[in-house]
């Protein structure tokens, strides 16, 4: 089943369309949600809320972007809302949750450790920087697509991406040296 078929089936309320969406896009949405919120449980909740929102809003989908891009836009909005709620509820705990890796770490780093360090660094980024890193390097979006997705100008997208990569490099352990030629 391709995107137009899925959309038509969704508009008619067919359960098979849900299965198809979960089969094709479920894991990808979950991984993106995981990088956006940094927590597996919250990521699962985010995807569930996204799918429900898709059900409720499918009649408004005009086909100006791909189905996945539209769903990802919903996911992004929901993750921002969740972040606002968390900030209100756990404002005092934020410094403890966001523990960035120290640049002076000397432990032996393999790929798994590097991956874990990257995830921590990603969570230490500001939300706009984290979003743009996820869109660029996980969703493999071009600058034009990022600008359209975030509703910002191309210049802003490039500038934000530049600063986000600089921040991420600085947050990664120095001896990891992954981001240098």
């Amino acid at each position: 089943m391709n995107d137009p078929d899925i959309i038509a089936a969704l508009k008619q309320g067919q359960a098979s369309a849900i299965d198809e969406i979960i089969h094709i896009y479920g894991d990808r949405l979950l991984r993106s949600a995981f990088f956006l919120c940094g927590n597996q449980t919250e990521a699962q909740d985010l995807v569930q809320d996204t799918l429900i929102q898709v059900l409720q809003s499918i009649q408004t989908f005009r086909g100006e972007s791909s189905l996945y891009a539209w769903m990802h836009g919903i996911l992004l909005n929901l993750s921002r809302r969740l972040r606002r709620q968390n900030r209100l509820e756990y404002n005092n705990d934020l410094p403890n949750q966001m523990e960035a890796p120290r640049p002076a770490e000397t432990e032996r780093l393999d790929l798994k450790t590097a991956s874990s360090a990257m995830r921590k660094a990603l969570q230490a980024l500001s939300p706009p920087h984290r979003e743009i890193i996820v869109l660029r390097y996980f969703e493999a979006m071009k600058i034009e697509e990022i600008a359209r997705h975030l509703r910002i100008s191309k210049g802003t997208a490039k500038s934000r991406l530049h600063y986000a990569t600089q921040c991420l490099r600085n947050l990664m352990p120095a001896n990891l040296n992954l981001f240098r030629s």
């Binding site: 038509a8 508009k11 008619q12 309320g13 359960a15 849900i18 299965d19 979960i22 479920g26 894991d27 949405l29 979950l30 991984r31 995981f34 990088f35 597996q40 990521a43 699962q44 995807v47 569930q48 799918l51 429900i52 059900l55 409720q56 499918i58 009649q59 408004t60 005009r62 790929l111 798994k112 590097a114 991956s115 874990s116 990257m118 995830r119 890193i133 996820v134 660029r136 390097y137 996980f138 493999a140 071009k142 600058i143 034009e144 490039k158 991406l161 990569t165 490099r169 992954l178 981001f179 240098r180 030629s181």
Partner: protein, 200 residues
């Protein structure tokens, strides 16, 4: 080409969205400028590392089966909610013609009309009358009955008073409209309106 312009087009270069001439200009500049070449190489390396690390970090993540159940349950709820609101929607949109297609329908003026989930494709006024129409019709009937009933009683009262005056006195009246009359030999009570005297 200047370094600032070259580095401004760094992301578009890797996206492949530059024109062939722009791309060639950048390649020429990179061959001559170590600083820009380093910036491009760093981005290439960063991109490669990030893609690998993000893949490594997330490859074992799977959507929980419970989510499918929850979403399907919500779909059922939406169907039920849609059925409940159906009679209300019929009242608002009923027509002799086809009004819904179950999706976005295009109006003659080119604008699209947003239809709700699972909207039926055809609605007929000859089917079961919506409760809302019956309620409104009953309300209108009560109002009309009140208006006409009151008017009849009002006129009857006025006629009774005029008849009594004519019988008990030597006054005679002339109706100049359905509600107004003049008494011929009683100048100070020439006008009677709605059964009441109006003194001049």
């Amino acid at each position: 080409m200047q370094c600032a312009k070259c580095q401004d087009q760094l992301y578009e270069y890797f996206d492949g969205t530059l024109t062939p001439s722009q791309r060639e200009s950048i390649r020429e500049h990179l061959a001559q400028c170590p600083a820009c070449f380093s910036a491009f190489e760093q981005e290439r390396q960063f991109s490669k590392s990030m893609i690998g690390l993000l893949e490594q970090q997330s490859r074992d993540l799977r959507l929980a089966p419970q989510i499918r159940e929850n979403v399907l349950a919500r779909l059922q709820e939406l169907k039920q909610e849609n059925q409940i609101s159906e009679s209300r929607r019929r009242f608002l949109t009923y027509s002799f013609k086809k009004v819904g297609t179950g999706s976005l329908s295009v109006r003659p003026n080119g604008k699209t009309r947003r239809n709700r989930l699972l909207r039926p494709t055809r609605i007929s006024i000859f089917g079961r009358l919506p409760q809302e129409i019956l309620k409104i019709a009953a309300g209108i009937a009560i109002l009309l009955a009140g208006f006409y009933g009151g008017n009849i009683l009002w006129k009857k009262r006025a006629t009774d008073i005029r008849t009594r005056l004519e019988r008990e006195t030597d006054w005679h009246y002339i109706m100049v409209s359905s509600r107004t009359c003049y008494f011929l030999n009683q100048p100070e009570l020439q006008l009677m309106h709605g059964g009441k005297y109006h003194e001049n």
